[in-house]
């Protein structure tokens, strides 16, 4: 007698097979397959009993209290948030950097030994180094301010972090763009730091505008857990060094990135 395969048994158990009747009939006459199904049942039954922590009837209200301060004024705007003036400022700044890189590439004279393409790439890299360095500097400031925020005065229960929150939100857009660019350029180390930074900025951007000291501590702990301040400083320093080097003696960029990724 041909026994049922594991796939058929799992399919039968999960209600997904087309031959349910044939399998059910086989199971009534084949003790080996029945035992096999019982063993599968035992595992799934044990998993059924894996507990989920209880959330009381007040949980929904607690969730609302957590998210209410973070909700925008109007729901369902989606892409329309991109039309907000402050977004346009960030987009405009980014566009200016790209145009500057392009124009600088067009107008800079290539040295005799260099190809024009290599020269354009170097100029583009220089502009990006400056822009990313500046971005990391701004991010560091926001994180530093949060990490060193003064404790509330006696009697004051909430700390207002709306300014930091808004700046983090603005930095997020630029961060995404730089991270993608770093990835495309094969600079995995920079992309990884920007990836970590993005998560922390997102945490801050999604926090309530006014937080309790305990909530501020949680944000601080998250910043510390990622070690992001240290990473941002190291990469920022590295970019400064690189900026100096590229200004004085431009060299092959790809090999440098590869070396850094290895490190």
């Amino acid at each position: 007698m041909k026994h049922l395969t594991e796939e058929e048994l799992i399919g039968y158990r999960e209600g997904e097979t087309t031959q349910r009747e044939a399998i059910a009939e086989h199971l009534t006459s084949c003790s080996a397959c029945r035992a096999e199904l019982d063993r599968l049942e035992a595992v799934l039954h044990a998993l059924d009993n894996l507990p989920v922590p209880e959330r009381g009837p007040e949980y929904g209200r607690a969730v609302w209290q957590q998210i209410a301060p973070r909700l925008p004024d109007k729901a369902g705007r989606g892409w329309r948030t991109w039309l907000e003036p402050r977004r346009w400022v960030a987009i405009g700044a980014m566009a200016a950097i790209v145009i500057a890189a392009f124009v600088a590439g067009r107008w800079s004279k290539p040295k005799d030994s260099e190809s024009p393409a290599a020269s354009v790439a170097q100029v583009r890299e220089r502009v990006l180094i400056v822009a990313v360095g500046e971005h990391l500097g701004k991010s560091e400031m926001v994180l530093m301010e949060l990490a060193n925020a003064t404790p509330p005065a006696p009697g004051q229960k909430q700390i207002n972090i709306s300014a930091e929150q808004r700046r983090a939100e603005d930095l997020l857009d630029a961060n995404r763009l730089y991270r993608e660019t770093a990835k495309q350029d094969g600079d995995a180390a920079l992309a990884s730091v920007l990836d970590d930074l993005e998560r922390v900025l997102m945490d801050v951007a999604h926090s309530p505008q006014e937080v309790t000291p305990a909530e501020l501590d949680t944000i601080r702990q998250r910043i510390e857990a990622h070690g992001i301040l240290f990473k941002v400083r190291v990469v920022g320093k590295e970019l400064q060094e690189k900026q100096k080097t590229t200004n004085s003696a431009p060299a092959a960029t790809e090999s440098k990135a590869r070396e850094r990724n290895k490190a």
């Binding site: 594991e6 796939e7 799992i10 399919g11 039968y12 158990r13 999960e14 209600g15 997904e16 349910r20 035992a35 199904l37 019982d38 063993r39 599968l40 049942e41 035992a42 595992v43 799934l44 039954h45 044990a46 998993l47 059924d48 009993n49 894996l50 507990p51 989920v52 922590p53 959330r55 949980y59 929904g60 209200r61 969730v63 609302w64 957590q66 998210i67 209410a68 973070r70 909700l71 925008p72 004024d73 109007k74 729901a75 369902g76 705007r77 989606g78 948030t81 998560r199 999604h206």
Partner: protein, 233 residues
């Protein structure tokens, strides 16, 4: 006969309750979109428990699960304009939560992989699985209360890829249809079916040594007869 009509009656009642909840959800969505921010509160309070259960089973820890719930509602609010009023808000929010939980699991895996050191891996490998086998084989219910087995089950779930864990949670615990799972995994239904199969297969390989034949008998006695799975609530 009386019992049958009662059961038919209670099914109708349940359907009526569900339909009323859907209508009330639709109204809350409309009011929120009209600028009444507090109307969204009804949706949050109604669906938080369900999203938490899903998020906890997917992420395996309370902190991440709570974050998933909050983020899912924030995303739902921001994108409420894209939500078709004829759709079920619960299912829509559920899908947003599942998608965010997948991203979260992937992020964590990348972070963990970066942090893990060869020595800690070696320590993990040195652990003898026989140490975890209980001397006497208790019933599945007791086994679930057994901390060691519970850890083993949590470990086995962690070993699944994020897609496998999502597929297993949605299918096995939440009773979602394969089409629903495929939509969350952004795959075809046959790929989603394979993912469910792979997840059950892996869990079985990992846990069968700890849940023995006696457990199988208990499972049978508990009436865990295979029933075709329904659709997500």
């Amino acid at each position: 006969m009386i019992r049958m009509s009662e059961s038919a009656g209670s099914m109708q009642d349940r359907e009526a309750v569900r339909s009323a909840a859907r209508e009330s959800d639709a109204l809350a969505v409309e009011r929120t979109l009209a600028g009444e921010r507090d109307a969204f509160r009804v949706l949050v309070e109604r669906h938080s428990q369900q999203l938490f259960r899903l998020a906890y089973r997917m992420t395996g820890n309370e902190h991440d699960a709570e974050e998933v719930v909050q983020e899912a509602f924030l995303r739902a609010y921001r994108n409420l304009g894209q939500f078709g009023s004829r759709a079920n808000f619960g299912t829509w929010a559920y899908r947003i939560a599942a998608n965010y939980a997948i991203d979260r699991m992937r992020q964590k895996r990348t972070e963990d992989a970066r942090r893990s050191t060869p020595s800690s891996l070696a320590e993990e490998q040195e652990q003898d699985p026989l140490d975890l086998v209980p001397d006497e084989r208790p019933t599945p219910d007791r086994l679930a209360g057994n901390t060691e087995l519970r850890n083993k089950m949590e470990e086995a779930l962690k070993e699944l890829s994020s897609s496998e864990r999502t597929a297993f949670v949605m299918r096995h615990w939440e009773g979602c249809a394969i089409e629903e799972i495929a939509a969350v995994l952004k795959s075809t239904t046959s790929a989603a079916k394979n993912t469910v199969f792979r997840s059950v297969q892996k869990l079985r390989r990992a846990l069968e040594p700890y849940v023995g034949a006696r457990g199988a008998l208990q499972a049978k006695a508990a009436g865990a007869a295979p029933e075709p799975r329904g659709t997500q609530p």
